[in-house]
């Protein structure tokens, strides 16, 4: 972890001086975690990809404001990602009159084969269904800890709670998830 933080520190300094290549390296390092977090909350892979790009573009624009004495860079990114998700939900809410087919129409450009796309989509829908039935804070803690693989400390900074509170929340969320999996298993 400290090695990653040191590397981030150096890259952020370079990016703040305008080095786009350094920011590209930061992107390559952290984009998968951000993508998984977003995809765990969104119904479409394309939306998650677009939002990932948007998050990093906003991060680049806010980089002059970022001070390394404060929260780690990953926490800074996840805060932007959370805000981007909220904005996305608001926009989606405004467009809810559209049918799901209409909303997914732009997915034609995806590079996945149709058969893979169907399999992937079903798996993803199952994940969304299970996580979506949990309380929002359980959903957040599980996504951040196990899907984005953040440490309890990083999760605590993003969720603005103490590390102890995160451990308790994680414990409860894991039990709740197991119950949910049991219920869904019975339904199926």
């Amino acid at each position: 972890m400290p090695a990653r933080l040191d590397k981030d520190h150096e890259l952020i300094k370079r990016a703040q001086r305008g080095d786009t290549h350094a920011f590209g390296e930061l992107y390559e390092c952290h984009a998968p975690a951000i993508f998984r977090y977003l995809y765990a909350h969104l119904g479409s892979q394309m939306d998650a990809e677009d939002l990932t790009g948007e998050v990093f573009l906003k991060a680049w624009q806010s980089l002059p404001k970022y001070t390394q004495r404060g929260a780690p860079f990953l926490a800074f990114l996840f805060r932007i990602a959370r805000n981007a998700l909220v904005d996305h939900y608001r926009q989606a809410h405004r467009q809810e009159s559209k049918s799901p087919e209409e909303l997914d129409a732009y997915k034609d450009g995806s590079k996945l084969e149709p058969i893979d796309q169907i399999g992937n989509q079903m798996e993803h829908q199952h994940i969304l269904k299970v996580l979506g039935n949990l309380r929002p804070d359980y959903q957040s803690v599980l996504t951040l800890r196990f899907i984005s693989e953040l440490s309890p400390e990083e999760t605590a900074q993003i969720m603005q709670r103490s590390v102890g509170a995160i451990r308790v929340l994680q414990h409860r969320a894991l039990f709740a998830l197991r119950r949910e999996l049991g219920t869904i298993g019975q339904d199926d």
């Binding site: 992107y27 993508f35 892979q45 002059p64 404001k65 994940i127 599980l142």
Partner: protein, 254 residues
């Protein structure tokens, strides 16, 4: 170590192994058969999340291609100069707050300090702020370097002591009169010393000041006499002491 803490430690340490596929739920439960009942639901959830993570990975090549696209987008964004970068550090609201907050604090402090000084200046012996008034006067004297200005200050403070004395009589605080008369004497002696200093350096400058001070002291004697005639007998000793002090001042100036 309690069982609960032990289970928590297992749960804290094992997720990376499950997530990377090095361990399975069953292999872990075989290692901890005593805690299997407690561990199983949590480990099964973690195992499910590990599988879910695989399903949520970005598609192959997405990160590399989107990195290029992001860098291109960043390149076409207008470049900020030093001042723009500096101002971009904070939002306009933050700037307003950063500038306004210290100003408000300074203004508030100045108001509080000003009202404190005003209250102290209006105080008379026996008031809580009277000692502050004396300190302020000492500070004024310490920061005045011109002998003539210093003399003016001594005379002003000497008059102030007489005014305080009169206020004490009018308020009926007769027990405080002897102490107030002593303070009048100290201030008068200090004024006379200052007059001596100035006359030694320049007698022409001191002359009008001496004349004015002498008239003031004579008036004060008359005023104190009138005050004595209108005050109860219990105030006499204090007032008489003050009259003696002022009279001795008039004599010294002659």
């Amino acid at each position: 170590m309690t069982k609960k803490r032990h289970i928590n430690q297992i749960i804290e340490s094992l997720p990376p192994a499950i997530m990377s596929g090095q361990e399975t739920v069953d292999s872990i439960l075989q290692k901890y058969p005593q805690e299997s009942e407690q561990l199983r639901p949590q480990l099964e959830s973690i195992s499910w999340l590990a599988e879910a993570k695989k399903g949520l990975e970005p598609r192959q090549g997405f990160i590399a291609s989107s990195r290029k696209y992001l860098q291109q987008q960043i390149e076409i964004l207008p470049r900020l100069n030093y001042w723009q970068r500096l101002f971009k550090r904070f939002t306009p609201q933050r700037w307003v707050f950063n500038i306004a907050a210290p100003i408000i604090v300074v203004v508030m402090l100045a108001l509080v300090l000003n009202s404190l000084i005003l209250t102290a200046r209006l105080s008379i012996p026996g008031d809580p702020f009277y000692s502050t008034k004396l300190v302020i006067e000492d500070v004024q004297l310490a920061t005045t370097y011109d002998p003539v200005d210093k003399l003016d200050l001594y005379i002003e403070f000497s008059r102030e002591r007489t005014t305080e004395f009169v206020e004490l009589v009018l308020d009926g605080d007769y027990e405080l009169l002897p102490a107030a008369a002593n303070r009048m004497e100290t201030e008068l002696i200090a004024s006379l010393n200052a007059i001596n200093n100035v006359s030694e350096q320049n007698s022409k400058t001191a002359l009008p000041v001496v004349g004015s001070f002498q008239r003031t002291l004579s008036n004060e004697v008359s005023m104190l006499n009138i005050l004595k005639s209108t005050s109860p007998i219990s105030a006499y000793p204090g007032i008489e002491l003050a009259i003696e002090v002022v009279k001795s001042g008039v004599m010294a100036l002659r």
